[in-house]
Symmetry: C2
Subunit: 191 residues, 2 copies
């Protein structure tokens, strides 16, 4: 398996702890399409590892089955581009486990970068983050599902990215779209 | 309904004529999630109208039911942000009908812009297209589902956009992700 252009940069799609619409901390359900879309997007931009984070065993099993179906089951021959996308995708228990896994595999604790739909006092811009990401370190981009990452994850992160501004006040992008836009802003070749 | 920042720019998500994996011209199935995601993304960037293009009556009815559920049914109170996203979404028979509809509603035939996953002899870059789109004209961005738009649509288009390059040779982005990335490249406020 060839190393991607950004194999020191990893991504976590977090289903706990996140907020629901009512502001409660919940476990959101894994959407199978999120697994496929985020895998394809990460593959396009040469991301190292993609972690689907959920503490629920049933959901972990579901994601595990999706991945193995496309990687080694019937799907691998039916649609090889999907297999290729999923090669670096794995399911994991918690964000702490993601950080431990990266630290063990790559010999360095990753700097965490969170994304947030709202303005945050210490959020930084995309140009600044592009520069930061040129350093030879391990990085972890953290995306929340549901109504966003629980605030302690934001508080403890090394970096907070500016929210995506379109042309409108409306900011209810699907997490799949946010991942696509942010990876393109950070790693896309605009021409 | 407030006018969006780019109310002279419209988007068509085309399910016919497109290619399948074998290179045959087919009608692809509408994915309900594509309807929601593309509506939210278009709303974020202030796009004028979003057309879901399919000639199949059953699929037209399906999309019509989704839209009316969220616009006026139970969904409108359950999730108002989804209602807001769908206000400018409609289902339509063909790309010709999209062009006729825009011409009738806005008094001008739109310039068509197609996107393509492969290089094309006359494709142009995002900076050039950003400038073009500042003109006071009607424009229609055309996205293909399945394995891409039938070649006559590409041939007849006024503009062909450069393919999205990530960091890799892999280019199998879901159409939802392509819409998000391209609208951000054309209209996003990078900061």
């Amino acid at each position: 398996m060839a190393e991607g252009a950004h194999s020191n940069i990893h991504l976590a799609l977090v289903h706990f702890p996140v907020y629901n619409k009512a502001g409660e901390v919940v476990v959101s359900s894994v959407t199978t399409l999120d697994v496929h879309d985020s895998s394809r997007i990460c593959r396009t931009y040469g991301i190292g590892a993609l972690y689907i984070v959920t503490p629920l065993k049933t959901q972990q099993n579901l994601v595990g089955r999706i991945i193995s179906h496309w990687k080694t089951g019937h799907g691998a021959t039916y649609n090889p581009t999907r297999k290729e996308a999923l090669l670096k995708t794995q399911v994991i228990n918690s964000l702490e486990d993601v950080i431990a896994d990266i630290t063990e595999r790559f010999g360095q604790k990753p700097k965490t970068i969170v994304t947030h739909a709202r303005e945050h006092s210490r959020s930084i811009g995309y140009e600044g983050m592009r520069k930061e990401l040129k350093k030879e370190k391990q990085y972890l981009l953290v995306f929340g599902t549901g109504w966003g990452l629980e605030q302690n994850i934001i508080r403890k992160a090394d970096f907070v990215l500016n929210p995506i501004k379109g042309s409108e006040e409306y900011n209810h992008l699907p997490v799949r779209a946010a991942i696509a836009i942010i990876l393109d802003r950070l790693f896309g070749v605009l021409r």
